[in-house]
């Protein structure tokens, strides 16, 4: 069973502060993803990575940075947090190709920016 963990699970931040969300996967997947989930919008792609050292912009990258220092770890960084970034953030890992192309999601991080 694929394992993706996220930390912290809950976070309260102040406007203008820096927030780092961490994700770790033990499945040796090449691809990792960050999504945010908001009511009415589903899962929106922020950044993703094809492997260590690579990051790609998703559909809503503004205000977010990503870092993939190793195969296992993928971080999402909010340099100057704003209340509009209050959301639930999901990290996922997976590999493309083959008939089964499953994404495995972490448990989510609930972020509140005051």
């Amino acid at each position: 069973e694929a394992a993706v963990t996220q930390s912290p699970r809950n976070k309260v931040a102040v406007t203008g502060g820096k927030v780092t969300l961490s994700c770790n996967q033990t499945n040796n997947h090449n691809n990792m993803y960050w999504y945010r989930q908001d009511t009415g919008h589903g899962l929106r792609l922020i950044h993703y990575s094809y492997g260590a050292g690579s990051t790609e912009k998703g559909d809503i990258p503004d205000g977010y940075k990503a870092s993939r220092p190793s195969q296992e770890n993928f971080s999402l960084i909010l340099e100057l947090a704003t209340p509009s970034q209050t959301s639930v953030y999901f990290c996922a890992s997976g590999d493309a190709g083959g008939y089964q192309d499953t994404q495995y999601f972490g448990p989510g991080t609930r972020l509140l920016v005051l």
Partner: protein
């Protein structure tokens, strides 16, 4: 801009009925179409998926119907059970890009 459109936003059916959830997409290079479900307080998990080599995929009570010409696909849940109540997300991807998700359908199955 939503690359994958999903409807309805919410759906209520009675136990035993068939629930039908719909999705459409624009990018003709998409070649993998999964459905995920998410129970309250949990993270999304893969339910069933299809590739366009076929126009139908079944797994128990869950069936995907795929129409490549119209760029539409749907999830049919037969004999719906209260335990099926969840939010369902369709998604689409190709090998060169990350998966994109629809906005979700919140399904309620009344006993």
């Amino acid at each position: 801009q939503q690359q994958v459109r999903q409807s309805p936003q919410s759906l209520t059916v009675w136990e035993g009925e068939t629930a039908i959830l719909n999705c459409s997409y624009e990018d003709s290079t998409f070649d993998y179409f999964p459905w995920y479900h998410q129970f309250p307080g949990e993270s999304p998990a893969l339910l069933i998926a299809i590739r366009p080599v076929s126009n139908k995929k079944e797994d128990g009570r869950f069936t995907i119907f795929f129409n490549k010409r119209e760029k539409k696909f749907s999830l049919h849940i037969a004999d719906s059970q209260p335990g099926d109540s969840a939010t369902y997300f369709c998604a689409a991807r190709n090998n060169n890009n990350a998966p994109r998700f629809g906005a979700g359908t919140k399904l309620s199955v009344k006993p």
